[in-house]
Structure formats: structure tokens, C-alpha cells
Symmetry: D2
Subunit: 402 residues, 4 copies
Amino acid sequence: MGQPEQPDGPEGAKPPLRVGMVGYAFMGAAHSQGWRTVGRVFDLPCRPVLAAICGRDAAAVRQAADRHGWAAAETDWRVLVERDDIDLVDICTPGDSHAEIALAALAAGKHVLCEKPLANTVEEASAMTAAAEAAYERGQLAMVGFNYRRVPATALARRMVAEGRLGALRHVRVTYLQDWLVDPEFPLTWRLRKEQAGSGSLGDLGAHIVDLAQYLAGERLAGVSALTETFVRERPLPVGATSGLSATASAGTGEVTVDDAALFTGRFTSGALASFEATRYATGRKNALCIELNGERGSLAFDLERLNELSYHDGTEPGTHAGFRRILVTEPDHPYLDAWWPPGHGLGYEHTFVHQARDLVHAIAEGRRPEPSFADGLQVQRVLAAVEESAEKNSVYTPIAV
Amino acid sequence: MGQPEQPDGPEGAKPPLRVGMVGYAFMGAAHSQGWRTVGRVFDLPCRPVLAAICGRDAAAVRQAADRHGWAAAETDWRVLVERDDIDLVDICTPGDSHAEIALAALAAGKHVLCEKPLANTVEEASAMTAAAEAAYERGQLAMVGFNYRRVPATALARRMVAEGRLGALRHVRVTYLQDWLVDPEFPLTWRLRKEQAGSGSLGDLGAHIVDLAQYLAGERLAGVSALTETFVRERPLPVGATSGLSATASAGTGEVTVDDAALFTGRFTSGALASFEATRYATGRKNALCIELNGERGSLAFDLERLNELSYHDGTEPGTHAGFRRILVTEPDHPYLDAWWPPGHGLGYEHTFVHQARDLVHAIAEGRRPEPSFADGLQVQRVLAAVEESAEKNSVYTPIAV
Amino acid sequence: MGQPEQPDGPEGAKPPLRVGMVGYAFMGAAHSQGWRTVGRVFDLPCRPVLAAICGRDAAAVRQAADRHGWAAAETDWRVLVERDDIDLVDICTPGDSHAEIALAALAAGKHVLCEKPLANTVEEASAMTAAAEAAYERGQLAMVGFNYRRVPATALARRMVAEGRLGALRHVRVTYLQDWLVDPEFPLTWRLRKEQAGSGSLGDLGAHIVDLAQYLAGERLAGVSALTETFVRERPLPVGATSGLSATASAGTGEVTVDDAALFTGRFTSGALASFEATRYATGRKNALCIELNGERGSLAFDLERLNELSYHDGTEPGTHAGFRRILVTEPDHPYLDAWWPPGHGLGYEHTFVHQARDLVHAIAEGRRPEPSFADGLQVQRVLAAVEESAEKNSVYTPIAV
Amino acid sequence: MGQPEQPDGPEGAKPPLRVGMVGYAFMGAAHSQGWRTVGRVFDLPCRPVLAAICGRDAAAVRQAADRHGWAAAETDWRVLVERDDIDLVDICTPGDSHAEIALAALAAGKHVLCEKPLANTVEEASAMTAAAEAAYERGQLAMVGFNYRRVPATALARRMVAEGRLGALRHVRVTYLQDWLVDPEFPLTWRLRKEQAGSGSLGDLGAHIVDLAQYLAGERLAGVSALTETFVRERPLPVGATSGLSATASAGTGEVTVDDAALFTGRFTSGALASFEATRYATGRKNALCIELNGERGSLAFDLERLNELSYHDGTEPGTHAGFRRILVTEPDHPYLDAWWPPGHGLGYEHTFVHQARDLVHAIAEGRRPEPSFADGLQVQRVLAAVEESAEKNSVYTPIAV
């Protein structure tokens, strides 16, 4: 509370990595926790410093700086990205401002971490990717914040797929189910406005599962066929500030201009089939990002609501004793786990941001491209665009642009 | 073993219902168990008699008759359906013979129970439905064997949906996952030949989940968008007889002419969204018919691998203590359960056939149309045809013919 | 309904095994289902015939005979056990009559299947065991009905323990939790009267788990330390007949003379530790017989409420991918499963009685002692007696008499 | 990394709470995370400052200070507890030093947070409690670190019990299962030596579950009957420092002087029955602290391996739709959750230490006794002593001293 993270002290010998963050709501809090904690848990080649946080409301951003441990507060992101004492700009704003801020930060010579989705349109994402490529030539790195790659269980799943434990992939099925819009009286937050959010469940939840599915499969989607729907088209306007996924309703109403739910099927380049569902109307499902991969040699399943577990079926075992096993992903040789607690002592949601910071810090220190790159973020955007195009064109199968 | 079920005895006063069954493989065994057991457990208005069983192989059908308790064995279904001492013809053959047998049985004045899918084509199913309608005027009844409506948990789910416990329906997601084709050396049984099976996962598994989804939702699908795939196109020919889902491979190979997997999304007439996946390549999933329904007021979920359980979320409860509850569907006031064991003493797969027999016997005794009717089976067939049409037409959204 | 199982027919060549059953309530119905079904599913060396059923109420037993398919009905068990056309006496009465009937049946030259607990006292059980030993010399066999050994999952667990998959055993923990006595207004059925039931949860549920634990462990308990309790000491008297676990209350009340719950810890002869809990007051637990065994090389866990599953942890695997796996015990090479349905098509509670009948028929045909024998039943009784003795003696550790 | 938490900054107005911590291994890291994070997440009445950390190895403690963010490092706890700039001493050492440090800290006028178990003997715990009582009169507070009271799910469970949702309590069953001693080659760490650890599973795991059971039940144990066992009596000596639950073996061996497992049953003062099992030999169970409470009106169940969930059965509901429900304890009105993430975004193990810090800070600011108090810790110690006494006396039921 109140005191900033100081660049001096006994480990001052390590080079600092001075972070400037734009945005201070849900994602801002989560990223702050990541930056603040990462050096306390992991051995890092440099020392993250929470240099400055930026938001339009001076009092609120000052309070956020104090709360989350940032040394300075700014109210204009243009000023932040130009500060000499910032090495990395971390963008935690709604999607409509990602492109502008990221382009400016890259132009100012900064590394960039940008929350997902990379942008609200393929055009913006393309421009950002081009700028990131150019910046890479100058030694700057850019990463997009698909944090669910950094759950130890999903990282373990990726490792197991890469080891060939699933063999030829046949099926990937993914859902991301939440229920905070079931109540038709829930107000019209920015997440329900196309101009800010770009899309609804699709960009918010769908972007996560498209990235995660492709990451785990180790291959890309070739095409999709989609249905989208807006169940409740008129909602009360919110009163005052909204934070996280909660808000207060007012008397007036406004139009919901994004999808409430998106369903799509698709083919991976290998021929494996995929199905996706993203919705905020799945009563009782709070954060059910569930993914299952079936391959010729085995299967994996994961549920974000039980994020310390990975379910694995080894199809090469004799059937007599085979079955889906629940791997408690808390062993020291599981990804990220050597730095945490003894076996069985689980982690939580926010740890993904600590791990994201860890991986980015290492990439920067080593000068290698972090993953997921802006190019990865652009490709996800192209999948989302194909979903929207298919949904508009009577669900016709729509190839993903390359 | 050996002795038939006799129509005499102390309950001889109850009118007999003399059943003649065509087919004696997996479904034949299951239906036999149903007919043999139903009167031992439920109070029935009449007395099912296992009068005759029919199959082409005289020795095999004789053996099946002895094994399963049928009084007589026939080798020509045409003879069976004409026997005066048969009241009901139970058709357990592959789908390509359903229409011919059912039409003949209806023409011969019999009630008919026909395994699912009703037929291999919409045309056949239409003819069967028309014949069933005409027969109904003559007092004959016809039912299609979607036995998964008769799991106590699904029947309870239907009751809860009908009571309004889910409110406006938003999502239905259904998978039917098996894995017995994962091994490319598994032989080419009749289920993989279009001429006999009509289709692959679609007709076998997809028919079940389309029927179950519509039954539970209490409404019909309006249209679908589909992808289908055959992963392994050439398989060894089987040696000798195949039974159930097992077979032995030979040296020669033949072409798989049906789908291995079918994925489709759709809209219900109310606007609720649906997704379906049927496959035999989901490594580790043995019989995973999983369905979840999300409505404005609640959700229900069911998994056939845990068939004594129903998962229910009451969305009208305060969130503080709400959660998906596991209803152990073994209470006396659960469907079918007053006739079985004390709470917690679960049932199995075959009980669905006992319940199916029970419901059909009551319908016949009361002269009312049993459900699911041939018209219901035809409608499912139309959904499957729309799936195939959409899959052929680049996944374009395809309305279900009415 | 009505017609008995006839000893003639095409398989008449097989020798009959003519069963006479005493008792026709819950256990009577379950055993009937076993005898009626076993020859329809399994290949047997002889042919079970439901020859006669016996109960004191002539009309009720006649009705039960018709319902369950018994050829004759008797009202005096002494007459039944003397009938020449009976080969095996199946005792399904409350525990207080087991000894008398079993002794008479053995004296009359019959094989005997006796429901658990073998008797209400060690003395009775000893006499029965001595009689069974003497009868064995004359070619008669006797078995006690611990049917939970015949769940495919527990039989698989036993096989895995015998294969050495657990290594040196460290822990066995077992609970059998039901909740039908939670309501203090539930009436005083025979199960709550010491003179009929012998004991409460201990004899009813505890007998099952003691037998199952010893069976799975493959070794015997050496001693126990116990607590028992009767939470509700006065209950309404029941009105009319009670069946299964349900009954109707009257205005009068009576004393509960058995334990409501029994907890005990113990040591196996190998030094492994065990804990047991049997209760009818575990609100929400309907039939939760849960057992877990931990050995140096692996662990197994089973829950009767999910009886088609066995949970297995292979401790010899690298920890990275290890975890409790859910074996769906429905594969053809699982115990009893080759005779039933394809993988994933689960069985229910009553199948344990079919399997029990199968194993007993084979034992009789081969002239070898069936398991569990009366001696096994006696040993369980000795454990229960030690539990009662320990509970009376301030929980002091009490060795099991040998 | 490196920089201490500074007491200045924009929130400098809040009074600081200057913490000095003794010990820097597993618990030291966990407590550091708690102190460092609590003010970033919760609104606090004062500002925790990580003032000084203490350990015997100067280099190691200096490194720990840097890593975990402590401003200063000490090598003599006697110096630490006398420092003027320390308000609260947080004791994270093995149990044999708790009493000495706590007594000195209380004598020096500090507040004290002491890890569990409070001490290795009842005598020490009594002295500490007496000192804490005396110190309370001087305005100092003392708390014992039973952090599992601070899992949101257990705190919710306590709230629900206090609301009367379970009614009269009948059963409490608790296990704490780990498996890190299954391998007989695992070395002889301090946790296996009586002189340091006091006892084995009993003090380490048993202390947690005794406290949690009494906390959730809202009442105390009246007596216990116990069995303890040491399965492996000789183990390799460890090489070098051990941390957490891991260590390296050497060639020499030494004797295990603590219990490997402890099982005990007991009675609560209300008459409810309890069973406890603590072991480090439950192959495959990593951190399975499982507790279930059954009351006349409902039941609750919790498993630390799924710490974001609470299972609840409402016994007052009609049985038709009743079942154990899985409450995902991530709603804003769940304990501690208003400060964290949106619903469905789970927490981890370490959050319990953040919550513990939060509650202690509030208690200190308000001058009221924190819970669990040293008196609570003493009472747990008395239960453990009764367990040991019973185990030594042939499991005889042993009342808990008051």
C-alpha cells in the first residue's frame, strides 16, 4: 500500500526492466500482481520495476498506483509511452485502444505486452504485427497476453502434445462458458458495446479458446463454420464505473451491439476436427474454459474451474487398467512449479500473470521473440474474423486467411 | 436357459402381449432382457410373452432363442410377421431392413417397436410413418427405440424442463463420444458400410443425441450447419460374425463408406443454440453421451457413463450457496424408480430396455400413441438428412424440412 | 408375471439346480432377479430353476412367487428345506433366523446360500460354519451373500491387489454411509431391533465393509478399537409391512435397541492400518460404500454410488504424468463383463446378485468351496463382536478371536 | 527482488505494522507472500511492513530477505525480538523453538503470529497461552497459524454451520493424506525427528485437521481413541539443507522417531462422532485434507486439493431434486472474495496466508483477540496429547483435558 517498488537495494546489480502499464481495472490489477510477484518467486535475469501506471481519471489512477505498488501515475498514455524511464509498455485497456497505444509504444522504442484480443479488427492487428516485426529488428519485443497458456496444467498439456503423446489428432472440443449475462437486467457495460469491445463472447472468450486450442494442438485452424446470437438485445445503461464483470443498472436502456454467444466448428490443417462455444449465458458455469483433445494415442482434458488438474488418457496402455487420470499439476517438474509450493498445494488464476511476466522477462533478457507473438494474436484475430464472416454468410465454411 | 416364457400360470388372467423379435445380436439381447424382466418388476396391464425370435442363421437363432428365453425361432421375418400368435414385432436389425420389416408388420396388423434410427433414409422413414399413421387408425401402435429417453435421469430431466425449471432455453450442447474406431486396424463391420448402416457416427450416435436433445428441450431443431469426416478410409475386412462393437480382422481391406465423426451446430425453434458431436475416435471415451441444457432459470447436465446421476443448477437460488448439484436418481419418486431398489442402489444400461417395454405395454393397453412415435423418428431422420446436406454444401445452414 | 421358470425346454440336457428361497422382501427380489437372469447371460454348467419361494404370509408369498417367477410357494421354511425337488436353499430372511434355517437346510442335504450377516451372534455363526464343514464332506456347499465382492470394479480391485499392484499395504479406509435414519420420525423397523437385526449399522453396513476390506486386502484384521452410538433412542412404531428401507409411522413409539453408527480403527495382520465407519445418519449419502487402499506401489479407490468405476493410482509411474485414473470397469476383460454389454454400457446394483449366482453355480458344478464361505462369514462376525466388545470397554484395542 | 517494502509513500498516513519474521523456509516464503500481498488486495487499517527476517545462516537469510522483500536480515532471533522497530513477530520455525521465541517476543512487547502446531508439548503451549493472556492485558495480541481456516471455502463452511444449516451434528470425518514418505529411501528430515518436530503426521497434519474440525463444528472434542504407527523406522540421513518437503539422501541412516500415521476416533461435546486420519503414506494423495460434516439438516464436504469448491447438501430440500452441490467459492459474497477476481477465477494455497495476515491486521487495529488464539492452539495440543496417550494405552478412550 503506497510504497512503490524501488530499483535500488542489494540486488540492484541486476538490470531493471521498467514497466509502464496502461489501464488499471480487472486486467490492471492482475498484471500488477504479476509484475510485483514474479521476482519474488522466480530467478530472473533482470528486475521488473513497477515504474508507472496510466489512466484517464487522475484520482483513480493515483489510488491504483498506491494500491498496486506503482511508483508513478500518469493520465495520458502518450506521455507514458514517451517516458525515458520506461522499458516496457503493458497495455490493459479495452480492445479499441490497443492498436494506437501499441503502435506508439513500439515507435517510442519500448517492448510491449498487449492484453488479448490483440485488436478489435484484423486491420489493426495487422498494423500492430507489422510494427512489431519492424521493432524486433531494432531489438524490441512484443507479446500478446493469452495468459491461459501459462496455467501449469495447460503448459504441461502442450508439452505432452509436443512429445507425441496424443499421436495424430482427431478432435479438439472447447467451450468457454460463463453466466454473468443470464439476467436480462445486467447493465450494458463496455464489454457489450461493439465500438469498445469489438465483439462480445467471441472476442472476450472466443479469442482465449482459439488461441489455447491452436497452442495445445500445435497447429492452426484452416477454416470455420459459425453461428452467433444476441439473446438479449436491450439492456439497462450502467451507472458509474464498472469493474471486473460487475456493474450497477440505471433506468435508461441501450442496445447490445455484440454477440452473446458464438458457436463454431472447424478443421485444423492436419484434418482434425474442432468445435468451439463461447457464451455468457451458461447458467451456473462461472469460468468453464474446458478443452479436450483426442488423438490416436491419447487424450487430454482441462477445465479452468479446476485449474490445478489435467486429465490424461494414455491410449497405448492395455484397456484393462486404462482410464482418464487426474494429474494434480503441482509437482516440481511440472511447468513453473519448481518455484512454488510442495506437491498438492495448488495455484490460482492470478499466477498465470506471474508466469506470463516470467516468460516475457526471460525473452527480453535473451532477445528472442516471446510467445504468443503479435503474429499469433493477428492469426487469432483472423480466425475470429472468419467466424464473424461465416456467421453472416449463413454459416458457410470459411477458410482462415493466411 | 432353454425354457421359454410360458403364457399360462397364476397370472394367466392378464391378457398376453405376444412379442416377435427380428434380430438377435447386441440389440436383440438387450430387448430380450427388457421383455423378460419388465413384468417381474413393474405392474403391467398385460403380460409380455417372448413368443418368437427371428434370424437368418437357423442354428444361431435357435441358440439365441434358448439363451434369451424365446418360445420359438424363425429364420424368415416374413413368416414371423404373419404369425397369428404375434401381437407386436420388435425390429432389432440394421437400419437397411427396418422399413421393409416394419411396413410388412404394420400391414399384418401388428404393433411395431423399431430400433433407432427409424430408417436409413427420409424416404423410408416417411413411408413407415405414413403406414404407422394408417395403422393407428386400425388400433395398431408404433414406437421407435430411442431408449436413452428411458434412463431415469433423462426422464427426470425432461420432467424438470417441462416444469419450467430451466426457463427460456439458451444452450443445448451434446456429445456422444466413443473410441472403438481409433485403431485403424479395427475391421470393416456392417456399421461402417453405408448400404447397411445408412451412415456412421451420425446415424448410430447422432440419431440418439438429436432425439434426446429435442426430447429434453421439448422443442425441435430448426436448422443445422455441419461438418463430417472419415478419418480412416480403408480398413481390414472382418472375419466371421461380428457382435456388439467387436470383430476380428482379415487380410483383405475394404472402403469405409460412412462418416467417422459428425459435428453440427443448430438453432432450436425458440432460438436456443445447440451443438452436437458424434464420434468413435474420442480416445478413452467409451460411451460418453453428455448433454447440458442452459436456461434462464437453471441448467441440467447428464453423462451416460454415470447414468444414475443428474446434475442440476438452480439459477433462482442465491449465488452464495448455489452450485451444480449431483442428484442421485435413485429415489422412489424418480421416474421408474418406485419399482426398483432402495435409494443409492443404481441401475444400468439394460434397464432402459425394461423401461421402454414398460411404457410401450402401457401405451398399447391404453390405446394411445407411444413416444417416441415413428413421426418422431422421421423428424430425427430429417435432421440427420439436413446434417448430411449441410456437410455436402460446405456447412451452409440448412433448415430442417417439416 | 405368473409363469414359473420351467425345467424343460431345449437346454433340458443341462442338469437343473433347483433353488428354494426363504424370504421375499428386498433381498428376495434381488436374489430372484439373480437366479432368473444368470442363465440368460452367462454360460453355465447347470440350469438354475426357481423351484419354490417361502414366506409366512400365504397370499403375499403367492404374489411374490408370481411376480418373481417361482414355480411354487411355501409358507413354512421347514417344509421347503425338506422338499426333495430342492437342491439349494437361498436364505433371504433377517439375521435372527439364518442359523436355524441354514442348519436345517444343511441337515436336509441342501446347498445353502445365506444372506449376510451370516448370523446375529458368533455362536450361531460358529455352529453354522461347523455344520457347513461337515456338509462339505458330504458334497454340499455353503456360501454367504457378501454380494459387493461381485461388483466388477471390486472384483477387478481384488485381482489387481493379488497381482501385487499395490505392494506392501499401508492403509485401508472404508465408509458405508446412508442417511435413511436422519429423520427422527422414521419408524422403528425390524432393522432397528436387536432381537431381529442383531445390531444396527454395524451388522447391516459394517458387515459388508469388513468383508470387502478383508477381501480386497487379501488379509484379515488383527484387532479393532471402536466407538458406537445410538443418536435417536425412541422412534414411532411402524404401521403394517415394511419393505426395503421404507416404512410408515404410527402413533406409538418404541426403543431403538441397535447402534445407529459404528466407527472403528484397526490393524491388519500385516501391520496395515484400517478405519471403518458405518452409519445411517450421513445426510445426503445414499449408499456411499467407499473404500480406498494405499500400498507402497499404488492405490485403489471405489465408491458404490459409482459402481462402474474403479480409481487407480500407479505409484510406480513417474510423478509427472501420474494421477488417480478412473477405470470404467466395462471392458470385456474385466470380471464378469465378457457376458454383458459393450464398453461404457454400465451395470447396476442387481447385477451383483447375478454374478453371485453365477459363481455359486460354477462352484457347485465343480464341487469346490465357494467364496465367501461360512467360515469367512464367521470371521466377519468375530470382527463385529470385537467391535462391540471394544465399544463396551471404552474403545480399548480388542484382538479378533481366531 | 532486492528492494524492501518501504514505510513511506502516499499511503504513509496509515500507521505501519512492522513485521519481523523468524524462519525463511517453506513457511517463511508463504508468510512473506502473505505480508507482501495483503495490502495490495485488501483495504487495511494499517500498513504491514516487512521489516526484518531472521535465520541462523547469514548468507542464506540475506538472500531470503532480498528474495522475499524484507528490509533487514538478522541471524539471532533474540536480537530480532528486541528490535524497537518491530511490532509483530511472525514465527515460522520448527515447533521445538516456538515456545522460546514466542515467550521472548511477548515479553518484549510484540504481537505474535506463531505457526502451527503452537508447540511440541502441552507444557510449552500452556506457558505460551498464559504469556499471551498476560500480554493481552498489555494490548498485545497472539495468534496461531492454522491457515486452513482462511480458505474461502472453509470460511464459508464455518459460516453455514454457524447459520444452523447443518442442524444437530452427527458426524465429522476428516483425513489429511499425503504420500511423500511412501518411498523408504526418502531421507530423515527434521520433520521425522521427535526432538524438532515433536511428532510426525500427528503434529504436522493432525494438528491442522483437529483445529479445522473443531472450528467448522463450532465445538470441541471431548475424547479420542487412537492408533499410531511408524511404518519405516530407519531412513537415510539427509545431505545438506532440506526445504519444503524435499531432501537428498546420504549413505548413513538414522532412526525415525515420530509417527508415520495417526488414526483416531472421537466424540464432540455434543455427542457427534468424529474420525481422523493423518498420514504421509497415502500413495497418490498429495495434499488431501478432506473433511465432511453430516448434520440433521444438511452436510458439507471440502477437499483441499480442490480448494475453490465446497460441497453442500441441503437436507431440508425435497429429495427429488436434492444432491450434493458443488459451490464454486469465488463469488463476491463469499469470505475474502470481494477483494479478488470475478466469479470462477480461483485462488490458490498461498492466499490463505494473505487472508491470515488480513484478519490479524484487523484484529490488531481493533485491539480484539484474533482467532485462532494461543488458547485454541493449546487446546489442539491437548487433543494431540490425548491421541498420543490413547495410542500408548492400547487405544483406550481418553478424555481431552480442559
